[in-house]
Symmetry: C2
Subunit: 313 residues, 2 copies
Amino acid sequence: MTDANLHPSSPTIPFFERVAHAVNLKNNVSVAGLDPVMSLIPDSLKKSSIEATLVAYNTALIDSFYDIIPVVKLQLACYEAFGLEGMHAYVKTVAYAKQRGLLVIADAKRGDIGSTAARYAHAFLEAEGDFVADALTVNAYLGSDGVLPFIEQLVKSNTGIFVLVKTSNPSSGELQDLIVQDGRALYEVMADYVVDWGKQTTTDAFGYHQVGAVVGATYPDQLKTLRKRMPGSWLLLPGYGAQGAVAEQLAPAFNASGQGALVNASRSIMGAHAAKAYQSIASTLDGFAKATRMECETMLQTLNDARTQQPNK
Amino acid sequence: MTDANLHPSSPTIPFFERVAHAVNLKNNVSVAGLDPVMSLIPDSLKKSSIEATLVAYNTALIDSFYDIIPVVKLQLACYEAFGLEGMHAYVKTVAYAKQRGLLVIADAKRGDIGSTAARYAHAFLEAEGDFVADALTVNAYLGSDGVLPFIEQLVKSNTGIFVLVKTSNPSSGELQDLIVQDGRALYEVMADYVVDWGKQTTTDAFGYHQVGAVVGATYPDQLKTLRKRMPGSWLLLPGYGAQGAVAEQLAPAFNASGQGALVNASRSIMGAHAAKAYQSIASTLDGFAKATRMECETMLQTLNDARTQQPNK
């Protein structure tokens, strides 16, 4: 499989199988976050409208890493914050990323009652539509009937979801770490639902089902537990770079073959051009691209170290 | 206070105080859901584009009830499902509703880590911006640091939030009803956080703080418990009409003065024109308006019965 057929408009291959192929092809489990904040955009990329500026920035970022990064993640909040112009920029960015052969995760953390969840599934996971990505993050506080419409849709369109299980933020334990009557932590209850929901999807050529899980790399003990508890799920780990997780913390996320987890970095990649380490090269557009790519290469190396060190062999 | 100054562009009155004034003015605790689904839109309101059709439909609905209904709620999934055209229709609908003196809840159930939650708060609760409403529904599975950015914003802009506590759907108990180590149900844990978060906001002239809670009218026992547990919160109850809750189930939601809860109906109002009960009158545009208004009047009467019957006096 080549880069070009990872991303057909109506895929016939399950999402996480496409992820595994892309990861193998580029030997990289990195996810680059495309989460624009105006203060991080260099003047050289600023255009006459917000929409054009956001698109120019995202395009420059994608151009600098598309051949070494397999997946991008767009944080919807960063587009909604710019209103309609932001949403137009989201649509153009998703289209450009797909054109460059990247898989696209819409990080929207959607979740609602069944009939409404079906509308979100239509918005983000159907084969056609402005906002459609390859996968969506889902908040499952409402339980199974809020998740099943996503499952039904993703099976039809060969897309995927990542359910929030144990999030990376400092307060995540307030609810997620609570111990329930049968002795499980709430995040373990959620993980067990992920396993159940996964059974209702396609098992792909690599043995994974199509329900992934968001697990914070900032909680290494829980990460170890959850890796074992959801052996058929790809994990999506935010928290690299700006949020602080390092290679040895990430190692337990991978399975014996060094697969099964994607690691996201947003601020460290998007702000590489403004970082002290790259100050000497980043003053021009060519320098912006070099600084971004160098940060991606550093991340790639760190993550491949983590995959080698993983204790699950 | 008159209808006209309930909704200034930069309000100086806290959101839930504006709600109380609007409820008193119209003697009505109804919230009309504006959640368009193409199959419910009569041919007479269909235009040459999806955006124009959605706007025409919402405008006709608003025109039929704006003088008797205090609050509308827009389910973001129903707009995102139509892509960019849907979002343009959302923006125009919010503007028209405000112009008609209605308070607007964006039912988006957003929630994320702190820095991202701040972007959502900017998108939905700042004084300016395409998507800004008077209040937003929030999913707090991530804990306090995902909620506090909304609190900071709502205090500045006199907007409000409703945190999902016990949702109306059949599976809501899978996670929300779990009993944690100290004996509380998870929905009670969430309710206690709502009380804490509320303390960090303004207490208004009616004694309410500015953090509301979503509680399903479909679970009357939990509704009774949660009414007592969150005495300073306005509750938002989905589940009237299409989801099945009736007056006696709703009664416990109100406080001694018959205030403190808003009840939402979406499908029963939006589909009134197609309902058997209104079949004889709804065949024209004038009939559409009459059918919609009659359904709103029936709901008003039911809810005022519930407010009178409430056991909390």
